[in-house]
């Protein structure tokens, strides 16, 4: 039985290759995680186990998909960045998004019991949706990353104050909400400090800054590289030798993937890690 009669249906598949020479960000978000967090009694305002599970899954994704150069996570979302020269899956959006989402989900479910040792998962299971967005310049990409980290800060300050009013101040949700209506950052800091002796600056970095995941090479002295400029002005379609590509691959595979909680808005983070934007692996640090 030949299959040719029906094969014409393949022509309905439409290409979705993303514009070359642009940075690709795949962002995934937990689906219905408010409900999910309630079901498993996530601690408020931040559940350390849940965040570390997210980070572990993100780290695993980066281990399996070498083309990701950096990832940033906060709450139930994670953004994965592919270098502008990436040609994985011919840059097909659906392949990139579905691969990231599926791999992340697999590890999230698999690692669940490591972080939530007492509460086994049950249906409906956690899941994530995702999408890909292209950013033409390093400036656009960094602004995207900054946007997510500022969002992290705004939400965490709000949530920290909101839950302090409830957990320590005895308010109900509506009262806490009314109290915070129209307040600025300074007001919230003040509420935390004066009412609950909480210095927001001393809150855990993971909560205040989110988590950034990347391959770890030796840091570079600021000023010796000008990454942003370089990265946009890579002579286009650089064809490096196979040997060079293979060497890069090996160095990448050797590099440790780390999860840190750093400021990714200022230049320093990027200047000291030029490999993030240049896509050239750095020097693998010696084991301590």
């Amino acid at each position: 039985m030949a299959n040719s009669k029906f094969e014409y249906v393949k022509q309905f598949e439409q290409p979705d290759n993303l514009l070359p020479n642009t940075w690709i960000v795949v962002r995934i978000d937990g689906r219905g995680f408010t409900k999910f967090a309630n079901k498993y009694a996530f601690e408020k305002p931040n559940d350390k186990r849940a965040l570390e599970l997210m980070n572990a899954a993100a780290r695993a994704v980066m281990g399996e998909v070498q083309d990701i150069t950096v990832a940033y996570g906060v709450s139930d979302e994670y953004s994965f960045v592919f270098h502008k020269t990436c040609s994985l899956f011919e840059r097909r959006a659906s392949k990139l998004v579905s691969t990231i989402v599926s791999t992340f989900t697999a590890y999230y479910v698999h690692y669940w019991s490591t972080y939530f040792t007492d509460t086994p998962l049950s249906a409906p299971l956690p899941s994530f949706d995702g999408r890909a967005v292209c950013y033409p310049t390093v400036q656009n990409l960094r602004d995207y990353m900054s946007w997510r980290q500022v969002d992290c800060h705004i939400n965490n300050l709000y949530n920290t104050t909101h839950w302090a009013l409830i957990q320590l101040g005895g308010m109900d949700g509506t009262e806490a909400e009314m109290t915070l209506k129209g307040t600025y950052a300074a007001d919230k800091n003040e509420i935390l400090f004066s009412k609950f002796s909480i210095n927001y600056n001393n809150e855990p970095e993971m909560y205040k800054k989110g988590s950034v995941v990347f391959r770890d090479y030796e840091l570079v002295e600021p000023g010796t590289h000008n990454t942003s400029i370089d990265a946009d002005h890579l002579a286009e379609p650089v064809q490096q030798s196979k040997t060079q590509t293979e060497n890069d691959r090996k160095r990448r595979a050797k590099a440790r993937i780390v999860v840190e909680h750093l400021d990714i808005i200022k230049d320093d983070f990027w200047n000291r890690r030029p490999w993030l934007l240049s896509n050239k692996p750095g020097r693998v640090p010696k084991e301590p």
Copy 2:
């Protein structure tokens, strides 16, 4: 700290809403499943546990995403069909694909130990990619489904014979391949029967026909509905009452989701289950 300075990056998100009034098929495929199957020593040519795990995951997806009307699976792939009137996620391709892929993966990993009781999963974990394709007419959709089922048949007949030559005939892979080169279906049936006394017709239906998943209502007498015609000629943007929509939802929720191994190429399957193409839930059968 206001976030407005960076928010402009949102404008880089590009819409990917699929053309209205077309059937949407989301097909997912196992990533690197040849290697994965070897790692877990899947039985050849078909591993019953692996297929039943796929079916269980697909069933769970359909339970969570009511908008799917029918799904068809074979080997490490599964196709999920959304009715042409579906408006889930405003028909955004990335949301539809990532939700299906993520939910499927979650259940696949979660149910693993139910089907593979002796071999716990370990990294690298199984994952799936996916894509969405639009089909304008019932004929196109059914041709797509037929294409997959014919593919199932062709591959299964080949694999059954190939592995018989190896497992029962003592050939190695290359010899088996050479033996089958240029053969027709009849030749393979003949090899199976004459050499190994295997009547291909008696092979399990799940292997020969794949698996079709759908909500189960009372079957309809053939000839009393003409589904294909009706389904293309639904008066466009039918606005049904909220009560009607709610009733439909409830009937759908009550319906049992079944996995069967039927011929989906011939009209009979579709004619007796008009709800698959009409999207009007049928009559829920009484419990036996």
Copy 3:
């Protein structure tokens, strides 16, 4: 000097092929035609010369692009319909749209002096923009056509009354506008009749119904064809013989392209001209 160094830029071209098996409508609109109409003192509410120039250009477009089955024009817009099986330019949107827009503009400028015998064109010249939209079913396509014709009717009744109030009733634009605010069709008919003895039904058909352009074959007796159903249920990828295709081409080339002012909302127009939806040329009428 080889060109290979720069040729990589070709990979930035992204495909824009429209979904197969859907009706393609390319609609073009005059750019800044309010100003343009004032510059050339178009008569109000309708300028016969301007409309006939539009029709002449549309007729020429259909003569050059055989794949168009029917076109409908009103005011400074024209919609061109490609049959769902059309494969012109591999259905690339930009090629289809730019070809139609360019050909239409060429004839509009070229024929200008035929219809506006006293006023030569001068810069800025008239121009048109365009876009392509896909409609999956005959019902969707006919609803699109009905939408444009209803729009023609609503606008023409309004404009006819508005300009009667000004030209015959001595009002200024604002007074006319205020008079018509909140009125229904019946009110406008009544104003025309009672104040100005104008029976709207006797207005020229071209103004009331717009213009429909198509190849003229012998009309078919209603009831002998069921076009709508047939057109959606064409057995998909019909491969007709080369001879048949060539015959069709010749019959199409022989057919006269006519401009008429008919009701295209009711079934009758379509039922009597089955070739519009079936894409099978009819019988060329004998010369009178």
Copy 4:
């Protein structure tokens, strides 16, 4: 008669906005211009009138569409460049392409009799198709422009030699083709010089380099601006004041649009005209 019943068809229109912050090139090409050139007996290898007509139409397009910063034409094609910050028509591809193609066609037909004084146009009329492509960086854009100019050079050298062999050397087309098969640029230069005493370097610049169209401001001393870097690193979404925008508009309107035949591959052209990439109008030169 309300139109709401049919208005749902509007939802089938799909957005086609091009990625922000990328350079947009709209390239148009003559349709069937080999045949067209024969019909009007264009001179070979270059018809001065035809090229000047193309240039006149391109100049008119740039006069009407201020957002175009530079255009480059060769043979029957023209590329129009929109600055990466352009927001015309919300960057909708179909609007941008159709507007350029239509305006160009209008002027081509309208100006025809100025350049072809003896041969009036007749049906089928000349027409153009077009498409839009996005380039993320200045490097990509300049490589695109270089690609076109190198193509111009390669084709013109070939055509000049080919037609010399025919017109001066008495060969027929096939003989000329065979003679040139496998030859390099140096060989063609040698054939021209030794056989026909033609020094290719003395050929008209318009034939050798094509035509570049831009607004003319005072040239800038090389080295005082570094345009390429600046242009990619414009602080993103710069919001300039309305006054500034209006001032820019006026300066642009005052600038003369010139057609020149220059090398656009080397840096010099771009460095001395920083407004082409910065989109900041320069200083309007005093009338001579």
